[in-house]
Assembly symmetry: C2
Homo-oligomer: 190 residues x 2
């Protein structure tokens, strides 16, 4: 046996970076091979298809979000605190794999067999999110604006973190999460 997948993981990590720069469709197996210092055919000793790489990148991330949301949803916290935890979840996952988040956001439509499953996870996540917001409105914790506008506004920012975090590695994730929570929840008006 092995340390399980070391070489395969290197390929997936390299692909992740290339996908974030040019997008899945624009990256060829020969590009990937060159970046790995080998020939395209050699990649197939470690992976079964280009598709499979995309799946490995996206599905694990999507499941991490679903699992995190499950925990938050079932926790015994105020709505504001749950929103804090959602922000922290996104900052955490994105900090650990910012390049993969690019594929999650931009290349999900090139999943094939796994497309439906991915959309399911995404749909579930958004339903849980909007339910939390509706609870907050009902319990008078948050302002009574269109709940979907609120979710969209917060989620757009969190989904774009991958564009930003790699350029700001001087910023501590804890502090970033705190600042973001502040701005998203309390606004910027003085």
């Amino acid at each position: 046996m092995n340390t399980e997948g070391t070489r395969r993981d290197e390929i997936i990590n390299t692909a992740t970076k290339l996908f974030k720069e040019k997008g899945y469709s624009a990256v060829t197996m020969r590009d990937l091979a060159t970046a790995m210092g080998m020939k395209a055919a050699s990649l197939y000793n470690h992976i079964n298809s280009k598709q499979e790489i995309l799946k490995a990148i996206i599905i694990s991330l999507a499941e991490a979000f679903t699992q995190g949301m499950e925990t938050i949803k079932n926790s015994d916290e105020t709505v504001i605190r749950k929103l804090n935890l959602i922000v922290a979840l996104h900052v955490d996952i994105t900090t650990k794999n910012p390049y993969g988040m690019a594929s999650l956001n931009n290349d999900w439509m090139h999943l094939e067999e796994q497309l439906e499953y991915y959309l399911q996870l995404r749909e579930g996540y958004e339903q849980d999110f909007v339910a939390i917001i509706k609870n907050g409105i009902a319990s008078n914790e948050i302002v009574d604006t269109n709940p979907e506008v609120i979710m969209f506004s917060i989620l757009s920012t969190l989904r774009s973190l991958y564009l930003w975090i790699p350029n700001k590695d001087d910023l501590d994730p804890k502090i970033l999460a705190q600042n973001l929570s502040d701005v998203l929840i309390n606004g910027i008006n003085k």
Copy 2:
């Protein structure tokens, strides 16, 4: 002479929709031709290259943002009001061409000769934006948090509008802009 470019414009509009669904690289000239009800070679009676289509989509949008920002920047308004105007600018442009915004956000890296120019416009836009926020902090109009976090948070939401607006055409742009301004500036805390 002509109504100038009618057929060419149809091709660009059709391409815009296809690009938003699959991304620039994944759309072939044969896909585009099929969607237009013609053969790939016939497209070249109206356009010079695939590249040129992308350029036509992206650069005009980027210039619209730059021009809008110029007007706002030079206007004689409070910082909060300027931010309202920026929100309205994004809602306006995105409502008029939501599909094109997908390319602006996701396919800009496939510009070639125009890439540098695009990046220039984008850089300028962000500098103007962050300058407005810094003014607001200095004049005590807005809260003293990291100005880049504030800009990032607002701009991420505005840049994601294209994902959302096409599904919500029951929502009046004026009302949407108002709701968004509220949430982005005043937050959601009660």
